[in-house]
C-alpha cells in the first residue's frame, strides 16, 4: 500500500486546473491569423493540399484544414497559426477565417436549440461513432477523459449504449460500409439528441470527401449541433467546444 501511495505522490498534481485558460505547449497550430498583405493568391490557394484556402479575400476553412502548416511555412507573412485552441463552433460558416479577422471563434446561441442548454448543462452523455476515422481523433477523445484533461469533471462522459446517450460524436468521413450502423446508432439515441462532428474528416470529408467509398448522406439528413475542427482535434478544443455548447 505504501508503494502505491508513493507512486501517487510521485505523480504530483496532474489535472489541468482550468481547461479554459490552459496554455498548450510548443508550436500548436490553432486558429489561424491571415494578414492583409498582398501575396500571389493563386500560388497560396493551390499550395493547400486540402483546398481549404480560398482567394479574394484570402480565407481558410477550418472545416477543411488539416493544420499541417504548409501555408504558414511558405507564406509566413501572410498566414500564421496562433495557439488558440478554442475553435469549435455551431455554425459551419463560422469556421471560415478571412484575412484581417482576429476574433476568437464563438458559438451563436441564437442558432442553438434551446433544449440543449436547459437539459444538458450539467450532464451530457455521448455515444462516439468512428465512421472511417483513422484512430487519431479517437485517441484524442480518449485523452480528453484521462487524468489530465478529465472531461468527466464537467458531467460529460462517453457511454457504451446509445440508449444512455444524449447525442453522438462522429469521427471520420463516414465510410459507406459504416453508414447504416451510424444511422441505427443515431436512431437508438432518445430525443432530444445532439450531433457533434469532430475532426476535419468528419466536418468536410477531408481528402475523402469525393471518395466513392464514402457516404455522407447522414449529414444532409440531420442537423449538426457542433463542429470541432482539428486533425485530430486537440482534447482542449473538444472540451471547450462541448462546454460552450451546453453553456457550462
Amino acid at each position: 500500500m505504501f508503494d502505491n501511495l508513493k507512486i501517487l505522490y510521485h505523480q504530483g498534481k496532474q489535472f489541468i486546473p482550468n481547461v479554459r485558460t490552459a496554455q498548450v505547449p510548443g508550436i500548436f497550430r490553432g486558429r489561424p491569423l491571415i494578414s492583409l498583405q498582398t501575396v500571389d493568391e493563386a500560388a497560396l490557394t493551390s499550395l493547400c493540399p486540402m483546398r481549404a484556402i480560398t482567394a479574394n479575400p484570402v480565407a481558410i476553412d477550418l472545416g477543411k484544414c488539416t493544420f499541417c502548416g504548409a501555408c504558414a511555412q511558405q507564406f509566413p507573412d501572410k498566414i500564421s497559426f496562433t495557439t488558440d485552441y478554442k475553435i469549435a463552433t455551431n455554425q459551419r460558416e463560422s469556421l471560415i477565417i478571412t484575412a484581417g479577422d482576429d476574433t476568437p471563434l464563438q458559438l451563436n446561441p441564437q442558432a442553438m436549440r434551446p433544449e440543449i442548454r436547459s437539459l444538458f448543462r450539467s450532464s451530457l452523455k455521448l455515444r462516439q461513432v468512428s465512421a472511417g476515422g483513422d484512430n487519431s481523433g479517437e485517441w484524442e477523445l480518449n485523452a480528453a477523459n484521462n487524468v489530465q484533461f478529465d472531461i468527466s469533471r464537467f458531467g460529460i462522459e462517453f457511454v457504451a449504449s446509445p440508449r444512455h446517450a444524449d447525442g453522438i460524436v462522429i469521427t471520420g468521413p463516414i465510410a459507406n460500409n459504416m453508414a447504416e450502423a451510424l444511422q441505427i446508432c443515431y436512431d437508438a439515441v432518445p430525443h432530444p439528441k445532439i450531433i457533434v462532428l469532430v475532426g476535419t474528416d468528419a466536418i468536410s470529408g477531408g481528402l475523402f470527401a469525393d471518395s466513392p467509398a464514402v457516404n455522407r448522406s447522414f449529414l444532409q439528413n440531420n442537423t449538426v449541433d457542433l463542429y470541432i475542427p482539428g486533425n485530430p482535434a486537440h482534447p482542449l478544443t473538444f472540451i471547450n467546444g462541448v462546454l460552450s455548447l451546453i453553456g457550462a
Binding site: 508513493k6 505523480q11 510548443g26 493540399p49 480518449n142 489530465q148 447504416e180 466513392p212 467509398a213
Partner: protein, 499 residues
Amino acid sequence: MNYITLLNNQTIGIAAIPEIPYDTFFEINTGFITHHPERHCVNYFGYKIGDAIKLICCIADDNAHQIYVSACVVKRETPLLALTSKLLCFEKFEREIHENFGVNFIHHPWLKPLRYAFNRFDTSQTIANYPFYSIKSEELHEVGVGPIHAGVIEPGHFRFICNGEQILHLEIQLGYQHRGMEQLFLDKKELLQRATLAENIAGDTVAGHATAFASLWESLCHFHPTRDLDFARTVAQELERIAIHTGDLSALCADIAYQLGASVFGRLRTPIVNFMQEWGGNRLSKGLIRPGYNPFPFTPALAARLLAVFDAFEPDFNEMCKQMFKLPSATSRFERTGVVSYDDVLSINAVGMAARSSGLHRDIRLSHPYCLYPELKHEPVIKRHGDVYSRVQVRKEEIKQSIEYVRKLIATLPHPQPSPSPLQQPQTDVFTITLVEAWRGEICHCAITDAHGELLIYKIKDPSFHNWMVLAMAVRNNEISDFPVSNKSFNLSYAGHDL
C-alpha cells in the same frame, strides 16, 4: 531467373521483374517460405493490365536482407491453384485478389470478402450479408459484438462461438472503415495530398506510414535523403512507439480494472505526445514527415527538452512497471491469457510485436534496416510465451529500448542540411517497395509508375492485415471475459486494415 532480388527502398524497372508462368510462380514463392521461418511474404497483390491481371509477389529474406520479387500474368476466368493450399500465410492476400478482381483460387479454405472495397469485383456482396462461420449445436451460442464497440474505438464486428463462457471460435469481420485509400493515392495528384493521405492510413501510426510513403517517393524520384531527414524520421518513429506502447499499457490496466496503472501510464503518454507537438505542432506527429524536405528540423533546444522529458518520464515509468509486474492480481490476468503459439504466428505471417511475443524474430529495423537503424544495430525484443504477459513485457522493454535509442541519437545532432536537389518527377515504368517497422510491426508500401511517371498502383499493407488473425487464434479456449485484455494487448488497426 524466375525472380529479381531487391533491397528495401530500391526502385527497378517494372520490366526487370521476371514474368513467369503460374505454376513456376507457385513453386518458387511457396518454395521460398517452406521450412524458412526467416522468410515471409511482405506483399502479394494484383493489378489490371487490359483484360489480364498481373500478380506481384514479394518475399522478404531476413537473413539475406533482400526481397525476392516475381510476377505472373493471369486471366480472371482461369482458376488458379491457391498458394494458400500449401501455405496459410497467403490466405489474406488471395482473398483480397479474389475480392478485387474475381480471380478464383482452387483449394483456398474460404474466399470470403476481405474489406468490401467500393471497387470490388462482385458488388452484390455487401457488408450486411457477410457469410459468418457457424456451428449448428444446442450447446453452443454465438455472441456478436460491433461494428460499434462499447468504447471510443474504431468499428469492426466480432462473432464469437462460445461453449458457456469459453470461446471456441472467433471470427473478425472488417471493412467498415474502408475509405478507398489506395485509389485516392492515384486520384490525388499532388505530393502534399498524398503525404496527408499516408498520415491518415492509420492515425495512430503516423510516423510509420508517413516514413514509408516519404521513403518510397524519394526512391521513386532518385532522391537520397540527407542525414537530418533520416534522423528526424527515426526519432519520430521511436517516439511514436514509446507513446503508443505507454498508452496501451494504460488501456491494458484499465481492462483488468487496475486503476492506478491505467491512470499513471495514461498520464505518462502525455509528455511524449506533447513533445511531438513542441517539435512539429501536432500531438500525433501529423505534418512532421514530408518527402524531400524536413519541415521541422530537430534543434538543439528540442534535444535538451526531450532529454528533460525522458528524465522525468523514466523514474515514474519504472516505478509503475515495477509495481504492476509484482502485483499478483495484475499478472494473473496477463499470464497464460490469449496465448498464441510460435507455429501459429509463423503460419499466419504475423509481424511486429505480435510475432516477437511468440518467439518469432521479425523486425524490419534489424532485417531490412532503413533510416538510421543500420547504425543503431537494433536487437529485437523477443519473448516466447505468446500470452498477454509476453506482449506487456515486449511493450515495456521496447519503451526502454526506444528511449535508449533516442538518447543515443540526439547525443550527436545532425546539422540541418539544405536538400541537395528538389524532388524530381518519379521515374517512369518502375516498381518500388518500402518496408518500415512501425510500433505495431512491419508496414509495406509498393508503387508502380506508368510510362508518364504517374502512379499506376499504390499498395499498402498495414501490420494489422495479418495480425487480426493472430488475435482470433489467441482468444480460443479463453473465457470471453478475457477478450478485451487480449484484444488490447495487440491493439490492432481497423483503418489500416480496411484502407
